[in-house]
Symmetry: C2
Subunit: 285 residues, 2 copies
């Protein structure tokens, strides 16, 4: 069973819609509060060669990216650390705190425990007047992405110029807030790769998504065909995928590319052919 | 290095006071938001023989207890699960959701991953107009505990009548809110045992704490001397330890016992002798 299968299985237990978005959204005190939690393990989530501070940054960044993916501002973060060696905590905490400060959030606490494998769980609190959900795409909207795609996968494939892209993800907080204000109709972060994310949108919308592969913003220094493959299925980019009416795009201050359209026909399409849901997934074999 | 040593080590990195209480407290929108996260592992935190639903309940309860320990109401909980077997998630989620419902909170989401050892991280959001912190005890206040102490340790020591006490902790949410309203001056939950918790209070207050061991509410069915030892040093009880001016005690609707006094002399005292900080602690050897 893969992670998405598990999420479907437990969605019957959780309140309505709790598993449909990057964050849980709670109306509270006249605004919306957002909560998101991410569990990361050394062997599966942190590329070999990362420093403890880089690991801490990444743990914070993936959760802040979930908040950015709904167009909200991050407020605070907690970090629970299962430590194989206790002396790693200082570096991890320093990196996580630095990431939080970069995005005007605070690392406010956490928990520690001994563990055979380094395990980090970051939980973020965000706030917004309104959010952009995964559901909401309308036929005729543009399909767009911020920044460029495939850089993290390129680094994993040996393109060393992309290394920082892999280990120091930069959540698109300001972009998410701007896209929210500008009228994006659906949004999420692309941590698991574009193809997978488009299928996630498909699962909660009644339309389809057609992209053109030659429009995909690709990593520099990577041959075109390979870069295109990385951009379609590579994970770890933490850019935003969003839909928006054409008349509202581009959005001031947001570096983004229109890569396709929301279409009536159900499915995910690349250059007119079905695009399978391939990319990064947790999986139990 | 033990967990408290680690917390001291990282307290220089986190914002002022972030590690002094059971929860992080954030002023937001005219009220206080509380955040707490707890990491639990099967081999160290869940007694053998618990069902998955009981494990889920406990993971939720320890975090709700942290919120109760500051006199706040829990709003929402997230559960990150590192699963040794994916089929365990349904039972764990069901138990956690049931615990949340019992305390008027919602299980709103989570994350899952594969893990060699079951690892659960629950993170809770609470809210309050004001909170009771660990710091605030005043000389002359009563030292009190809710319910009784030592039941969880009694179960671990073979007193089977106490088994439910061990595996199904009942966070003192209503009691915490009532004690907050009634003017408790300092409060925390006693998850690591009374002696350890009194030393935690000692660490953030300028006074001392003197308790009388024959006043400790002990588990029924356990011989007196053994029950007293369990009550002093046993962990896992999730009762509230608080200080309160004598004229404000007892508090309507709160079953609690005065076990001692806040004194001027620095230290933790039982029957006039120093009480060492012994009890449940995570420890790296």
């Amino acid at each position: 069973m893969d992670e998405r299968g598990l999420i479907r299985a437990i969605s019957t237990i959780l309140p309505g819609g709790a598993t449909a978005d990057d964050c849980a959204v709670l109306p509270h005190g006249g605004e919306l509060l957002l909560l998101s939690t991410d569990m990361l393990h050394e062997t599966t989530d942190f590329p070999v060669g990362m420093t403890d501070a880089e690991i801490g940054w990444m743990a914070a960044a993936v959760t802040i990216s979930d908040i950015a993916g709904m167009g909200a501002r991050p407020l605070a973060l907690l970090l629970a650390a299962g430590l194989d060696r206790p002396e790693r905590l200082a570096g991890i905490t320093e990196g996580a705190a630095r990431c939080c400060r970069t995005y005007d959030a605070s690392l406010v606490g956490g928990d520690t425990d001994a563990h055979t494998e380094l395990t980090l769980v970051s939980t973020g609190l965000g706030a917004a007047e309104q959010v952009v959900r995964r559901r909401g795409a309308r036929v005729g909207d543009l399909v767009c992405v911020t920044g460029y795609l495939g850089g993290a996968q390129a680094a994993l494939s040996g393109y060393d110029d992309c290394w920082q892209r892999l280990i120091a993800p930069q959540p698109r907080v300001a972009e998410g807030i701007a896209l929210n204000a500008a009228g994006a109709t659906a949004m999420m972060d692309i941590s698991d790769g574009l193809a997978m994310s488009l299928h996630d949108l498909l699962g909660v919308n009644e339309c389809g998504f057609a992209v053109e592969s030659d429009r995909l913003p690709r990593p520099a220094g990577v041959p075109e065909a390979e870069g295109r493959a990385f951009a379609i299925s590579g994970g770890g980019d933490f850019e935003l995928l969003f839909t928006i009416p054409p008349e509202k795009f581009p959005v001031a201050g947001v570096e983004a590319t229109a890569i396709g359209r929301v279409v009536a026909e159900r499915g995910v399409w690349a250059d007119g052919a079905p695009l399978p849901a391939e990319g990064y997934m947790h999986r139990w074999e």
